[in-house]
């Protein structure tokens, strides 16, 4: 079997029914897709197969023989982040980071497919991705900002203190 992963063609030795998740993680050492539930329920193993988000834990390697796979390692590097990666950093669209790869790829596919900053459409596109830390609001904001094409400066502190404290207890 052959896979093109993040632009590089790879010869695959795993058995044909090995999950794409295990091929990526265990054979190729690409660890951004996570084993969250291994039942297709949580979304954190999501990768792009020919540009479409797929749960890699449910995809047998043989089913994607010859296809093109993208993980977040292929979306962008620290020096050249994709817009959706920049947006997640700027808008704090993550805390622990474990679900983030799946969200990023689903969001990337949504925006590439012409998705807008409409929160309902974004929520629909991200349905089935579970995040236990953020409460989703910041993730949706991040995707909306990327969909609008907002620019981000990630190198410095952003803004100045604006919060006022009701008790006056903080100085």
């Amino acid at each position: 079997m052959k896979l093109t992963v993040n632009g590089i063609e790879q010869e695959i030795e795993s058995a044909p029914l090995t999950s794409l998740l295990d091929v990526l993680r265990e054979e190729l050492g690409i660890t951004s897709p996570k084993a969250g539930c291994e039942q297709g329920g949580c979304g954190t193993c999501t990768v792009l197969v020919d540009g479409e988000p797929r749960r890699s834990c449910l995809v047998p390697a043989a089913a994607v023989d010859g296809h093109e796979i993208v993980t977040v390692e292929g979306l962008g590097t620290p020096d050249h982040l994709a817009p959706v990666q920049q947006a997640f950093v700027h808008h704090y669209g993550m805390q622990c980071g474990f679900c983030t790869p799946g969200f990023l790829l689903a969001a990337h596919a949504y925006i590439e497919g012409g998705g807008t900053d409409d929160p309902k459409a974004i929520s629909h596109a991200l349905a089935g991705h579970f995040c236990r830390c953020t409460g989703y609001v910041k993730i949706v904001n991040a995707v909306a900002a990327a969909a609008r094409g907002d620019g981000f400066d990630l190198t410095t502190t952003v803004g100045t203190p604006t919060t006022t404290f009701a008790t006056g207890g903080v100085e």
């Binding site: 660890t31 539930c37 993980t71 620290p78 950093v89 983030t100 190198t155 502190t157």
Partner: protein, 457 residues
């Protein structure tokens, strides 16, 4: 305070979005074996037979560990606070919750490890099981724990956490109305997207490197060292990247058993719980049973509170005595009630042991107190925010355990809620401050409880 209110970039943000954050499961160590656990299929039983010999001789199996391999089988999570041990690392004579680990195996791959678990022979004599914290406290309930059905080791060997403040009989004798309520929040699973996962590497110098998803690195180091009976300098714990915890990853649930397997096999071992294990066998937030009775005047003062709390600790104590202690300190919520009679019990059932979760012991009481405040307002036909402001903590008021409040935020918080939701407050309550009590806000029954905020705690 340059950081407060400012937007600082996350220190781990770039790593998270580029897939470069190394979680425990991402650590690559050649030759790593897979671990799997034999877990109790029943809620409560004596173990009448345990035979691992067939599993041990299977091809590809490198280690099988049971209670006999643990240097110190029983170790209390909070032994540092004087809370004695009650839970074996691996079940010995009996099992007390479904999913309790009995044996762990390390094998060349996941399939072989699962087959080895299936080859362990074990027999159970089932016993009655308890799942409801209230029923577990009944005098004729079957006994499910060696200490009886509730924890008996609070200070001075008291069997519950108790608070007595003021004169509770005076409060109930002088009340216009008694308002009662029972509140029973259910268990909640933390459900981190990263399940429990641990990797242990036995190093050539005799030390163990332990990659752990723990939320409490140094705490877990102490727990592992105690069970293994080794000095701390034999352990190198690598942590810090936790795929969600919320309190569920303070129990050191996988590290010690993985370490024992790695030592016995002489090979690196990884144990990654399945989602099913995480949901069925990992600790949860506790279910609680809380009974409140407030002595109330017709104009909305709460003169006194009687309260009984039954905290479901699950099958073992773990951190629950600490949780109930915090709970007791907070049992008046954000409000000042001068006369108190509180009893809190840590009750054992056959549920999975319960543990910390976001506001350990305090979220339960907040739920009960806030629901009860609205119930009191309903009974008196008072505005639900005004009754909260009337009884709100003020500077100089004292908590149930005698701490003088110096910075209470109840008054401005409730006023802000009223403003944000368009809730009309009468002039008295709109202009109220959190300053020390005086005038109409210092009725006779609140005089004695007032402390000196200059002296603080």
């Amino acid at each position: 305070m340059k950081a407060v209110g400012a937007r600082l970039p996350r220190y781990d943000g770039i790593a998270h979005v580029t897939g470069r954050s190394t979680f425990v499961d991402d650590v690559r160590i050649p030759g790593t074996l897979w671990a799997k656990a034999l877990r109790s299929p029943v809620h409560h039983a004596d173990i009448t037979r345990l035979d691992t010999s067939r599993a041990e001789t299977m091809s590809g199996v490198h280690a099988v560990v049971t209670w006999q391999d643990v240097p110190l089988l029983m170790y209390g999570h909070l032994s540092a606070l004087g809370i004695p041990e009650d839970e074996p690392l691996l079940a010995k004579d009996d099992v007390r919750y479904k999913g309790q680990p009995i044996a762990v195996v390390a094998a060349q791959d996941e399939e072989t490890a699962l087959a080895a678990v299936g080859a362990i022979e074990v027999e159970y004599a089932e016993k009655p099981a308890l799942f409801d914290v209230r029923l577990a406290a009944d005098p004729d309930a079957p006994i499910v724990h060696q200490w009886g059905n509730w924890y008996t080791h609070f200070e001075a060997e008291m069997d519950h956490r108790q608070i007595r403040k003021g004169d509770i009989d005076w409060a109930f004798d002088n009340a216009d109305v008694i308002v009662q309520g029972v509140y029973r929040p259910a268990a909640i699973e933390h459900c981190p997207v990263e399940t429990q996962v641990c990797q242990v590497v036995p190093e050539a110098d005799g030390r163990l490197t332990i990659y752990t998803c723990t939320q409490a690195l140094y705490f877990s180091m102490g727990v592992v060292a105690a069970h293994l009976q080794v000095p701390l300098n034999k352990l190198k714990l690598v942590g810090g990247t936790v795929g969600g915890g919320f309190g569920g990853k303070v129990d050191t649930a996988s590290e010690t058993m993985t370490a024992l397997l790695a030592m016995k096999a002489g090979r690196p071992v990884k144990w990654r719980w399945t989602r099913e294990e995480e949901l069925l066998c990992s600790s949860t937030r506790a279910p609680w049973h809380m009974e409140l009775a407030d002595a109330v005047t017709n104009d909305g003062w709460i003169l006194g509170r009687k309260m009984l709390t039954l905290h479901d600790s699950g099958a073992y104590a773990r951190f629950s005595p600490y949780g109930v202690t915090k709970h007791s300190f907070h049992h008046t919520g954000a409000y000042t009630i001068p006369n108190l009679h509180f009893d809190g019990y840590v009750v054992f059932t056959n549920r999975v042991p319960t543990t910390a979760m976001r506001g350990f012991g305090v979220t339960s009481i907040s739920f009960a107190v806030e629901t009860h405040m609205s119930r009191v307002a309903d009974v008196l036909a008072m505005d639900p925010l005004e009754i909260r402001l009337k009884n709100a903590n003020r500077i100089g008021d004292t908590s149930p355990n005698g701490v003088v409040y110096t910075d209470p935020s109840t008054v401005p918080t409730i006023q802000a809620i009223a403003e944000a939701t368009g809730h009309e407050l009468s002039a008295d309550y709109r202009t109220m401050t959190r300053d020390p009590r005086g005038g109409e806000w210092l009725p006779e029954h609140l005089v004695a409880q007032v402390g000196n905020p200059e002296e603080g705690h």
